[in-house]
Symmetry: C2
Subunit: 495 residues, 2 copies
């Protein structure tokens, strides 16, 4: 039988490649009705892929009507009703979607295709992934959440499955406001809006506070996924260079004066991607500048809770007596990314406008998730979990910093030493960017990091990359840093 051919360098998941190719073989009748397929184990061996990959492909083909499967028998080929018609549902259609797409939609689509933070790495041995900022599922307090969900569907039952308020569950908003107070922020529940993660919070803020053609000031480098949003909204990004102590305030002032940005987007704690935390003095000066120029200061506190080394300054929002700060927070980076719960805290006038957009663009966050999360938090599970995360990641970050000192070529590279969070930023000062070669070397050493180019609206000036330890334990970190060190030695020595 003709076998599918697996391309490991493709963006397309392997199971999808198998699905696509087997479908074509069935549709062009290379494989005919009733023909038995190899078992998933047999096919996996022949293709040199994981058995579960083949299993998933067969499942999908079955769902699509291309396979017949009976207990105790071979899986056989089936010619689905539509395939006989000859077009197999693959006619091109009369619309040219790209031509019909809005300018912002077109730009973000291009970014989407180019943005593949994790290089495919399916063949063994497993690489160490220092790229993903997903959370290590081994630290998830799953059991407590499971109980909270069960309670949410037990006691309130119907209510948890009914529509929620657009602004979010009032009890959860109260909890968020109370919790904000522990970080020095005086926020009332009516100044809180629940969003689908902080990604939606950023989008809502841009929808309300910007118009196409305006400028937005942000750090260079900054959070990668905010740059495509600039394109979608057809905004100009004015990058403010990051220094050792945060964004350059003189540069920011110059940008404000010359380009009148609609807002500033900044990450003062454990900045993504640099891991830099700004000082109290820097925060005060930044706030004063924004107040002076009446510039909304969008503070992304995505890892506010992850201060595990010593004392860290309070959020800028804590000093916001003039109410120019729009604060974004999330549960994704300390608890569960899969819940999709983030929030905005700002002046009630601003929150009401954001809520109006939320109301008509997706009605509300899931009621069930909000009720379960509130229950989880109110029982002290959130607090306990945060304390555990501090213990766990303090040790992990110490292991990472020690491993960097041990393995990195200190004469060639420099890196940040974060006060918390998960991120370390590495620069090869004076070295021109050559990501193709750098990634090739890393690939050979079976380690993945995030190249610096993802984090700049324009191009970075020198070779840089981001390390995330959010998915790894200490042994994995040590192994990853050893491999990365070897890769860096090779990359720098050959320079």
């Amino acid at each position: 039988m003709v076998l599918p051919c697996v391309d490991r360098s493709s963006h397309e998941p392997i199971y999808m490649q198998i699905v696509r190719q087997l479908r074509r073989l069935i549709e062009d009748e290379t494989l005919s009705e009733g023909e038995p397929l190899p078992s998933s184990r047999g096919m996996a061996e022949r293709l040199g892929v994981n058995r579960s990959t083949v299993y998933r492909a067969y499942q999908e083909l079955w769902a699509l009507g291309y396979l017949e499967s009976r207990p105790g028998s071979y899986t056989t080929v089936r010619c689905p009703p539509s395939a006989g018609g000859g077009d197999g549902g693959r006619t091109a259609g009369v619309l040219e979607w790209d031509r019909m797409t809005s300018p912002g939609g077109r730009d973000i689509h291009r970014s989407y295709l180019a943005y593949t933070p994790e290089a495919p790495f399916d063949n063994p041995p497993e690489p160490v992934n220092l790229s993903q900022l997903d959370l290590d599922p081994r630290v998830f307090p799953v059991t407590e959440l499971r109980r909270a969900c069960d309670r949410a569907l037990g006691s309130t039952g119907g209510r948890a499955l009914q529509y929620a308020a657009a602004q979010g569950d009032p009890d959860l908003r109260s909890f968020i406001a109370e919790r904000a107070r522990t970080h020095g922020m005086e926020v009332r529940p009516e100044e809180v809006l629940i969003t689908n993660g902080s990604q939606q919070a950023i989008d809502l803020v841009l929808r309300v506070l910007t118009e196409a053609g305006q400028t937005v000031a942000l750090e260079a480098p900054t959070y990668a996924a905010v740059i495509p949003l600039m394109q979608l909204h057809q905004l100009r990004a004015a990058g403010v260079p990051m220094r050792r102590d945060g964004l350059d305030l003189d540069d920011l002032e110059r940008i404000i004066v010359e380009r009148s940005p609609a807002l500033l987007y900044t990450i003062p704690n454990f900045q993504n991607p640099t891991g830099i935390t700004t000082s109290q003095e820097h925060r005060e000066n930044l706030l004063t500048l924004c107040e002076r120029f009446r510039l909304p200061l969008v503070e992304d506190g995505f890892e506010e809770e992850m201060k595990y080394f010593g004392k860290v300054a309070q959020p800028i929002k804590a000093m916001d007596s003039d109410k120019v700060v729009v604060y974004l927070g999330t549960f994704s980076k300390v608890l569960f990314p899969g819940l999709r719960i983030g929030f905005v805290m700002a002046d009630a006038e601003c929150i009401e406008r954001l809520t109006a957009v939320k109301r008509f663009t997706d009605l509300s966050a899931s009621n069930l998730i909000q009720i379960a999360l509130n229950d989880f938090c109110r029982r002290g599970c959130y607090e306990r979990h945060i304390r555990r995360m501090h213990r766990v990641f303090r040790k992990r970050m110490l292991a990472a910093l020690a491993a960097a000192k041990e393995h990195f070529p200190t004469q060639h590279v420099s890196w940040t030493e974060p006060a918390g969070g998960y991120l370390i930023w590495v620069s090869v000062p004076g070295r021109k960017v050559d990501d193709a070669r750098f990634e090739e070397v890393c690939r050979r050493h079976r380690v993945v990091v995030s190249p610096g180019r993802y984090y700049y609206a324009e191009s970075p000036a020198e070779q840089q990359f981001r390390i995330s330890i959010s998915m790894l334990d200490e042994d994995e970190i040590r192994e990853g840093f050893a491999r990365l060190g070897a890769a860096l030695h090779e990359f720098c020595d050959a320079g």
Copy 2:
């Protein structure tokens, strides 16, 4: 010294109660600067609580700047910088949010404030609410979903709480594609995008396929919450009048020729608000028209599953060989609104562009919810539930139509007889709109309906309103229709 007072029956954690009360005592200067506090042990004994609770409260007060703590010395009261100011955080702020808001944001905010589908009715006796299109929680299959959630958090645990794919869970997409086949639509999983309800689906389609200033064709009347979206996107709405058999095709053709709309938004089944279902012939003519003019046809199948009277034509998407149809669906109108799961089915090229926007505007739908919902559906619970819903609402709708015939002043009003769904549209032909009076009469008869003006981008020509039976059982329906009949008699007779 004045002690805090602990309430063990409160939701508020005890340490937060202590924090809140001590803060108030410090802010109103009952406790003054420099005053020593009891040790955490001493305070714990006096309050009869755990020492660690007091310790935690003190920690928090210290973080908030309300306590001073030095090694080997008493903890003393500190007046934090902001507390002395006396404003209590209620200053107005320096930004004029309305002036800073984008034109679309401003318009949708006004609509948000004006849009109050449920008139407040706080004093007894309870009115009958024929306005809400929420689902009756008494028919929710809560137990089955509870088990599905429990399984999702049991077996896959970590995975359900990790980030999901932007396009949505592949298994759930397969289920949706399979289910689409039962309605005659040949859709592959890669042609499906999971959204936060169909509201987000509409927003995504507008983000990708329209630009500010363009025209969108839609039915007049149409789904109320789509009209504010036109404002947010700064689009012009071209209303195509609804006839007995759906939108007027001649009018649509004229609009296409004269105004080149970017797309058509239509609801062929149990249209919201009129309840009208179009015929096979109307669907074919409409599709042909859109194909001829290369006009994307956005088909909102929000109640596709609720065909409980006889045979109903298949969705337009089922005939879509030229792939001009973008189909929107949702689980909110047959299952659980609180899950916030809807979907788009369209040409893969179009889906990819919609996914790009979804990816960067809120990452993905909740993984936990998607996995639980897929589990629920795969076990046959969805099918079983749909069958039950058909039985339940067939009877309820028959009761509604019988009650209308019995109680409404047939010489003055006409109404639609839907083939399924939850909606009936009532007109008082020739009667000028006077919602203030109409609502006043309804209020006196303790019944609520949705006035017609919510469903038009422009003003309606005559007195109309929408009835929804989605929240009520047969007795409640009979009672509501009797009251509404009395109100209509009074309103029409006084005309």
